[in-house]
C-alpha cells in the first residue's frame, strides 16, 4: 500500500497518466477543493471590487472587510426554504443544477497547473474541456423547462441560444491556437493541454504573440466569447433583473440557486484557464524568452513570496486603519491574524524547495486571477447588450473574424 503511494512520487507524470488511483484522488480533492475555495474568494472579490468601482465599500461587517461574507452567504442559502413550483417536473428540476455543476467541475481534470501538476493529461484535452463544458447548456434548458413558468423558459432559451452561438466562435479561435502548436519541430500538433503549453515552451513564444496580430486577435475573440459563454456582463441579458425575464434560475431558491452560482463561477474559472493555457503560456513565468537566465529566474521565483508579503502588508495597514472602538476589537484581531497568515505563507514561499515547486502553479493561478478581475471589471463598466445585438455580435462579427484568423494562421503556418 505504502509502496503504491510512494511509487508515484518519483515519477515525472501526472497521476492520471501514471494510473495511480490514490494520487488521482488526492489531486482531485485538492483541485476541487481549491476551485470551491476560489469560487468563494471570487464571490467576495466580486462584491468588494464592484463596490469599490461604485464608490462604496461593499461588505464590511461579517469578518474584517467582509472576508467571512461568503460563509455568511452560504449559511443563509443553506437555511432558506427549498421551494419547488407546484406543477414543476420534480426530477428534472432537481437534476438541472447538478448537471451544470458536474459539467463545470468535470473539466478540471485536464486543467494543467504545471507540467506534471494536473489530475491527468488526456491527449484530447482541449476538446474534452470544450465538449464537457457545453453540457451545461443542457442543464440550463432543463432548469428553464422544469420551472413550468413563462419567464424562466424564455430566459433559458435565450441563455442556451447565446451559449451555443458563442461556442462556435470560441471553437474557431481554439482551432487557430491548435494550429500553432503544430509548428514545432516534430511537425505534429497536439490537443492535450499540457502539450499545448509545452509547444509554446518549445517554440519560445506565447501564442498570444505568435504571427502577431493573429494570435492576439484569436485571443481577443476567445476572451469575448468566454464572457458570453458564461452569461456574464455585458452578455447577461438572460440573468438581468431589470429586463422582462429574470432568467432560468428564477424559480430556484436557497441551496439549489447557490449550485447555479457555483457552476457559473466554476465555468468562469474553467474557460479562463483555457484562455491562459492556449495563449498566455499556461504555467510559464512572464517573459520566459526575453528575460532569460538564472538571475531572472530567481527574480521571478521570488515574486510569489513578495506578493503574499505585500498582501500581508495591506492587511496590516488595514488593521491600523480600523476604528479604535471596542466593537471592532474582534475584527481587528481577525484582520491581524489574516495578515499574519498571509505573511507566513509569503515567508514559506521563499524557502527554495517550496519556491521551485510552487512556481508553475502560482503563475497559472495568477493569470487566471487576472481574468477573474477582468470579469468583474466588465460587469462594473459595461451596459448590457440587447439579445438580438448579442446574437449579431456572436454570429456576424466574431465568427467571420475567427474563421479568417484560422485560415490566415494556416496559410502563414505553411509558408513560414
Amino acid at each position: 500500500m505504502l509502496d503504491y503511494i510512494t511509487s508515484y512520487l518519483g515519477l515525472n507524470q501526472t497521476p492520471g497518466q501514471a494510473g495511480n488511483i490514490f494520487w488521482v484522488t488526492v489531486y482531485i480533492l485538492i483541485v476541487f477543493g481549491g476551485v470551491s475555495v476560489a469560487v468563494m474568494a471570487m464571490n467576495w472579490l466580486e462584491r468588494k471590487a464592484l463596490a469599490h468601482f461604485q464608490i462604496r465599500l461593499g461588505p464590511m461587517r461579517v469578518g474584517p472587510h467582509g472576508l467571512l461574507q461568503p460563509i455568511a452567504d452560504a449559511v443563509k442559502l443553506l437555511t432558506k426554504e427549498d421551494i419547488i413550483p407546484d406543477e414543476a417536473d420534480k426530477f428534472v428540476f432537481w437534476i438541472a443544477p447538478l448537471i451544470i455543476l458536474c459539467a463545470s467541475f468535470a473539466v478540471y481534470i485536464v486543467v494543467p497547473f504545471g507540467p506534471t501538476h494536473a489530475i491527468t493529461d488526456v491527449n484530447i484535452g482541449i476538446l474534452f474541456m470544450l465538449g464537457v463544458s457545453s453540457l451545461s447548456v443542457l442543464g440550463v434548458v432543463m432548469a428553464g423547462w422544469a420551472s413550468n413558468s413563462h419567464y424562466p423558459l424564455i430566459g433559458s432559451l435565450r441563455s442556451s441560444a447565446q451559449m451555443i452561438s458563442y461556442e462556435v466562435a470560441m471553437g474557431m479561435a481554439v482551432v487557430s491556437a491548435i494550429l500553432m502548436t503544430s509548428l514545432n519541430k516534430t511537425g505534429t500538433g497536439t490537443l492535450s493541454m499540457i502539450g499545448i503549453v509545452q509547444a509554446q515552451q518549445e517554440q519560445h513564444i506565447w501564442f498570444l504573440f505568435k504571427f502577431f496580430p493573429l494570435g492576439f486577435i484569436a485571443f481577443v475573440i476567445f476572451a469575448i466569447a468566454m464572457v458570453a459563454e458564461t452569461n456574464r456582463a455585458p452578455f447577461d441579458l438572460p440573468e438581468a433583473e431589470s429586463e422582462l425575464t429574470a432568467g432560468f434560475h428564477t424559480e430556484y431558491s436557497g441551496l439549489r440557486w447557490s449550485l447555479f452560482m457555483l457552476g457559473e463561477y466554476a465555468a468562469m474559472i474553467a474557460v479562463s484557464s483555457i484562455a491562459v493555457t492556449l495563449w498566455l503560456g499556461g504555467w510559464m513565468r512572464p517573459f520566459p524568452n526575453t528575460l532569460t537566465g538564472d538571475t531572472w529566474d530567481l527574480v521571478f521565483s521570488l515574486i510569489p513570496g513578495f506578493l503574499f508579503l505585500g498582501l500581508a502588508l495591506i492587511a496590516f495597514i488595514g488593521v491600523t486603519r480600523m476604528p479604535k472602538h471596542p466593537y471592532f476589537k474582534i475584527q481587528t484581531i481577525g484582520l491581524a491574524g489574516f495578515g499574519a497568515v498571509l505573511g507566513l505563507i509569503g515567508l514559506i514561499l521563499f524557502i527554495p524547495p517550496v519556491r521551485d515547486r510552487i512556481q508553475d502553479i502560482f503563475w497559472f493561478v495568477a493569470k487566471v486571477g487576472v481574468f477573474m478581475y477582468l470579469y468583474i471589471w466588465y460587469r462594473a463598466t459595461f451596459p448590457r447588450y440587447r439579445f438580438d445585438q448579442l446574437m449579431k455580435v456572436g454570429w456576424k462579427v466574431l465568427l467571420p473574424i475567427a474563421i479568417g484568423v484560422v485560415i490566415l494562421t494556416a496559410i502563414i503556418g505553411v509558408l513560414a
Binding site: L50, Q54, A233, P234, E241, S242, E243, L244, T381, P383
Partner: protein, 387 residues
C-alpha cells in the same frame, strides 16, 4: 394591425377584453410589466402585446399614486397648498414650487423682488441638475450599466446638502413662498454654490466618459424610441424629448419667467429624436444649467427677498395659466380663483403624464428590452403622472 407610424396608434387595438390565448397557441403574448419593477420608475403598469420579442402595442395603466392633489387644493388656502406641489414631481420639487408660486403671484399681480428671483433661479437650476443626475443614474441602470448610478447619486448629494442648508429639506423642499422666498440665502450660500460649479464639470465628463462613446451604450440607445418632431408636437410632448427631436423650444426662452431673460444660455437640441440624442441633450442641459448658475451667483443683488404680500392671500376673481420649464417638460398651473382664500380650481399640467402617452408611439415595433430603455428616457416621475 395598423402600421405603427400611421396616425391612429391611439386606437385601443390591444383587444384586451378578449379571452387570453395561451402563448403556445398563437404568436401573440400579453405580458404585464407590473406596478412593481426592479427598474424603479414608480408604480407604473405597462401591458405589452408581443409577437415573440417585438412589441405590437402597449397600454399604460396609471393611477397607483393618485392622491387627489387637485381636489385637496380646493380645500386649502393658497399658502397651505404650497407644500403639496413638491410632492408631485418629488425629484424636482423646487421647480414645482416655483411654478406654483409664480402662478399665484401672476394671479395676484405681484412681482417677486430681484434678489428673490436670483435665489429662485439658482435653486431651480440646481434642482434641474439634480433631477438629470437621478435620471442618468436610473436610466443607465435600466440599460445595464450599474456604475453611473453611484457616481450621479454621490454628486447629487452635494446639491441636496445645499438645499438642506437652505431650507431644511433635501427632497421636498418647499423653498419658495408666494411673493418671493421665505429664507434668506444662508451664510456661505454663494461659496457653496461656487464650489459646486467648479466641482461638477469634471464629474459630468466622467459620466460621459463612461457612456457617450461606449459601444454598447450607443448600440442600446441609438435609433431606439425614435419620435419625430411632428409627432412630438401633436402629442404635446415637451422638454428634452421635444428638443432632442429637433425643435429648439424652451419656455425659459420662449415665454420667460423669473428673470431668465437676464441670463445667457443655450438650448441644446438633437437631430434624430432617439434615445441617444435625448441622453446628449440632457447632459448638455446640465452644463447649461451650470452656466446659468454661474452667471446668477456672480450677480445676486442685495435687497428684500419677499414682496409686499397681504397676510391673507385672496387673489381677485379670475383665472390664469402659468407654465415653467421643469426638468421633465412644460409644467403648467391653471388656477381659477373665486376671490376667496381658497383656490376654486387648481389644475396641474404634468409633463410626465403627457410624455407618457408618447410611449406607445415610440415603442411600436421595437423589442421588449427597448421598452425599458424608452420608459427611462422619457424621464417620468409617477408622482407627477398620477398627482
Amino acid at each position: 394591425m395598423p402600421d405603427q407610424m400611421t396616425k391612429d396608434p391611439y386606437l385601443s387595438n390591444l383587444e384586451l377584453g378578449q379571452p387570453d390565448k395561451t402563448f403556445l397557441d398563437s404568436n401573440e403574448l400579453i405580458i404585464n410589466m407590473g406596478p412593481q419593477h426592479p427598474a424603479t420608475h414608480g408604480v407604473l403598469r405597462v401591458i405589452l402585446k408581443l409577437d415573440g420579442e417585438k412589441v405590437l402595442g402597449t397600454e399604460c395603466v396609471i393611477g397607483y399614486l393618485h392622491r387627489g392633489v387637485e381636489k385637496i387644493a380646493e380645500n386649502r388656502t393658497y399658502t397651505m397648498f404650497n407644500p403639496y406641489v413638491d410632492r408631485m414631481d418629488y425629484v424636482a420639487a423646487v421647480s414645482n414650487g416655483l411654478g406654483y408660486c409664480e402662478a399665484v403671484e401672476k394671479l395676484m399681480n405681484i412681482e417677486a423682488p430681484p434678489r428673490a428671483n436670483y435665489i429662485r433661479v439658482i435653486l431651480t437650476e440646481l434642482n434641474r441638475i439634480a433631477s438629470h443626475q437621478l435620471w442618468l443614474g436610473t436610466h443607465a441602470l435600466d440599460i445595464g450599466a450599474m456604475t453611473p448610478l453611484f457616481y450621479t447619486f454621490r454628486d447629487r448629494e452635494e446639491i441636496l446638502k445645499i438645499f438642506e442648508k437652505y431650507c431644511g429639506a433635501r427632497l421636498t423642499t418647499h423653498a419658495f413662498r408666494i411673493g418671493g422666498c421665505l429664507y434668506e440665502a444662508y451664510e456661505g450660500f454663494e461659496e457653496d454654490v461656487k464650489r459646486y460649479i467648479d466641482f461638477l464639470p469634471p464629474k459630468i465628463d466622467e459620466y460621459e466618459e463612461l457612456l457617450t462613446t461606449n459601444r454598447i451604450w450607443v448600440e442600446r440607445t441609438r435609433n431606439i424610441g425614435k419620435i419625430s418632431a411632428e409627432d412630438c408636437k401633436a402629442l404635446g410632448v415637451t422638454g428634452p424629448v421635444l428638443r432632442a427631436s429637433g425643435v429648439k423650444w424652451d419656455i425659459r426662452k420662449a415665454l420667460p419667467y423669473a428673470n431668465y431673460t437676464e441670463f445667457d444660455f443655450e438650448i441644446p437640441t438633437g437631430t434624430s429624436g432617439d434615445t441617444y440624442d435625448r441622453y446628449l441633450v440632457r447632459m448638455e442641459e446640465m452644463r447649461q444649467s451650470l452656466r446659468i448658475i454661474r452667471q446668477a451667483v456672480e450677480r445676486i443683488p442685495e435687497g428684500p427677498i419677499m414682496a409686499k404680500v397681504p397676510k391673507v392671500i385672496k387673489p381677485p376673481v379670475g383665472e390664469v395659466y402659468h407654465s415653467i420649464e421643469a426638468p421633465k417638460g412644460e409644467l403648467g398651473y391653471f388656477i381659477v380663483s373665486d376671490g376667496s382664500t381658497q383656490p376654486y380650481r387648481v389644475r396641474v399640467r404634468p409633463p410626465s403624464f403627457v410624455n407618457l402617452q408618447a410611449l406607445d408611439v415610440m415603442v411600436r415595433g421595437a423589442l421588449v428590452a427597448d421598452v425599458i430603455a424608452v420608459i427611462g428616457t422619457l424621464d417620468i416621475v409617477l408622482g407627477e403622472v398620477d398627482r
